[in-house]
């Protein structure tokens, strides 16, 4: 039953993606700046004929609805077009860059959960204690620090001053790794390559912390406040009246219910992580999607922007689906 409902939800993503594709298509073309001008360097040297030729090659001389027809028709066949600037199929570029971004997003999410869950729980259980006050002050810092600044500070301290962590890239040049999925940590595990595992984890650490700090702060605050509310509830009182240990009261009766609002926030933060990627990837020279997209936007590389936005949209939709599924497990009143 649940499997059918989940399949239904997956299938409804198709019209959503269709809508996203159309909206993105028009919005990019509404922005000022002509890709052909940018490509030819806005120099007077380019002749009118060359410009015409390029426009024709990219179908930019056709009416918008015809261009849209080309785009959607190709997209249905799994062809997202050809990057104007990089002269490569967009799909290839995305496949090449996506794993790095996924790896950093997962790393940041894990780091933020590892930091936020214990802090959120403990500061609620020991409300107004020194630990609570310090954590909430820390959370305030975490939210306030911009990613590019934190990234640079971390690089200065750990890579330049202490020299214990790498400052950039995903893996050292002298470490061999056979790519399977493109997620280096996973690949080193799959191929049993311990030196590569260690090296890729070390590379992942600073970017993940930089990206995850703000998210950790938000999750910790939300979890703390929902734990505080739940700990005052009647069912927690009943659990105590049954003779349950404080551990069971907090970790079973309270946490299970406090996670419901927290999961929503975590789901939304995945979007924030994807957005934050662009800056952190630049700071750490991380070869991910974020930097690719920034370049594509500056160059009005329409097909590449479209492709990347589609990827972001799919990620959002899927994250929402996962959140909804988790919800049904946490809150029995909700069904898919």
């Amino acid at each position: 039953m649940k499997a059918i409902k989940i399949l239904e939800r997956v299938l409804t993503t198709i019209p959503i993606m269709f809508g996203v594709a159309i909206i993105v298509f028009f919005f990019i073309r509404l922005t000022p700046g002509d890709p052909v001008d940018i490509m030819l360097g806005r120099s007077a040297a380019a002749s009118q004929r060359e410009i015409e030729q390029l426009r024709h090659q990219f179908h930019l001389d056709e009416p918008l609805h015809v261009q849209l027809g080309y785009f959607l028709g190709d997209a249905l066949r799994g062809n997202l077009g050809y990057s104007y600037i990089r002269n490569k199929p967009v799909v290839d570029l995305l496949v090449e860059r996506l794993p790095a971004t996924i790896e950093m997003t997962i790393g940041a999410l894990l780091i933020s959960l590892i930091i936020a869950l214990p802090i959120g729980i403990l500061s609620a259980v020991r409300q107004n204690s020194l630990l609570d006050r310090l954590s909430m002050a820390g959370a305030f810092l975490g939210i306030s620090m911009p990613g590019f600044w934190l990234g640079i500070v971390l690089i200065l301290f750990f890579a330049v001053y202490l020299q214990i962590l790498p400052a950039q890239g995903r893996i050292s040049y002298d470490v061999e790794l056979q790519e399977v999925t493109g997620l280096y940590v996973l690949d080193s595990l799959l191929t049993g390559n311990l030196p590569a595992l260690k090296d890729s984890l070390l590379h992942l650490l600073l970017p993940s912390i930089t990206l995850g700090a703000g998210v950790a702060a938000i999750i910790a605050r939300v979890l703390r406040s929902s734990m505080l509310e739940v700990l005052r509830s009647d069912y927690v009182k009943l659990a105590r009246a049954k003779g349950a240990t404080e551990w069971d009261v907090v970790m079973k009766h309270a946490l299970r219910n406090a996670l419901i609002p927290t999961v929503t926030v975590v789901g939304l933060q995945v979007g924030v992580l994807l957005g934050g990627n662009m800056i952190v990837e630049t700071v750490f020279s991380w070869p991910g999607l974020g930097r690719l997209v920034v370049d594509a936007i500056f160059n009005r590389d329409f097909p590449l922007i479209q492709g990347a936005v589609m990827i972001y949209a799919i990620t959002f939709v899927l994250t929402n689906l996962v959140v909804d599924i988790l919800y049904t497990y946490l809150n029995p009143k909700i069904t898919l």
């Binding site: 005052r232 509830s233 029995p332």
Partner: protein, 329 residues
């Protein structure tokens, strides 16, 4: 009834610091409960009846605390036990049924599981799942939950209010406690369900000899159910006696006030007489009798010092100076 009480409260005082000052929610309460007894604690909202129950189980949430007194259970002072020893008592020897069943059941776990937890915590069925489940189903049918095998896996929101309260009673009964503290167990239920729940509790009392403390604002309900009644006002007990003594010959003006403000269906038309005035601020209870300001029989002396209990008949205690000719207890 045996002579040694099962539970004895001695001068129990529970306080909550607030901005307005120290609220003495339970002030100097002394009370005893015999084995298998049905005791009612009656009073209006905020008079400290629920806090008294929570104090017995040491479940007062911070910043509230039990400031003084003793709570002797079979001679052992509960207030002096270690946290671990106290947990052994909670749910096993003294169990509690709360007021609002929907918010008291955990929405995230199946009802059967929540009943089973009580068994598991106190190792009633040697933590053997099949045996525990069997016992839970037994308990569920005992409290009148129909088709318990099917309902074992259902969640609280799938139960009706009456069934939720039955489930809560099943949780409380799971370890066959010696004392059941029932805090307004029927307040959120309609009258027919109320009668069924009270009937269920009476049967439990008869079948197992479980002593029950019924906390309620409903004097009629207490009169019907209990053998003895204690009346509470502004954190203090004002009158204790057998049900007959308290209902037929109420001696404290507050008890009498409560009795005259209950509407009755009878041939005679009688007016409901509300008690004039308001309950005093618990952070600032006047010296002397807390009820003095609202009392029609108040004398200047009533507001001077704390009024002691006077025993006006065997077992009938009243905190009122009109009985000062009787011997102070």
């Amino acid at each position: 009834m045996t002579n040694t009480p099962l539970l004895e409260l001695k001068n129990l005082t529970t306080v909550f610091p607030t901005r307005r000052g120290l609220v003495r929610a339970v002030a100097d309460v002394s009370l005893s409960l015999a084995q298998g007894e049905l005791l009612g604690i009656v009073g209006e909202s905020g008079c400290g009846k629920s806090v008294t129950m929570l104090s017995i189980l040491r479940l007062i949430s911070t910043p509230g605390r039990i400031a003084a007194g003793q709570a002797l259970f079979q001679g052992r002072d509960l207030l002096k036990l270690s946290d671990g020893a106290m947990r052994q008592i909670r749910g096993k020897d003294i169990a509690m049924v709360f007021q609002d069943p929907l918010s008291t059941l955990n929405p995230a776990f199946p009802v059967g599981e929540q009943i089973r937890e009580s068994l598991r915590i106190h190792h009633i069925a040697q933590n053997h799942f099949a045996r525990e489940k069997e016992r839970v189903i037994e308990l569920m049918s005992e409290v009148g939950i129909s088709s318990p095998t099917d309902r074992f896996h259902e969640y609280p929101h799938q139960f009706s209010g009456g069934m939720q309260q039955r489930a809560l009673i099943a949780i409380a009964l799971a370890c066959e406690p010696k004392i059941l503290l029932a805090d307004e167990p029927t307040t959120s239920l309609d009258v027919t369900i109320q009668a069924q729940i009270m009937d269920l509790m009476r049967r439990i009392n008869e079948a197992r000899g479980t002593a029950i403390v019924l906390v309620t604002h409903n004097l009629d309900l207490a009169a019907e159910f209990c053998q003895r009644i204690a009346v509470m006002y502004a954190g203090r007990l004002v009158e204790i006696g057998t049900t007959d003594q308290v209902i037929e010959t109420p001696q404290h003006p507050y008890t009498r006030g409560l009795l005259t403000c209950i509407p009755r269906i009878s041939a005679q038309r009688t007016r409901i007489e509300p008690i004039p005035g308001n309950v005093p601020d618990l952070a600032n209870v006047p010296p002397g009798c807390a009820f003095a300001e609202r009392c029609s029989e108040m004398q200047p002396i009533c507001q001077n010092d704390l009024i002691p209990f006077f025993e006006i008949a065997p077992g009938h205690l009243v905190r009122c100076l009109r009985h000062s000719s009787a011997t102070p207890d």
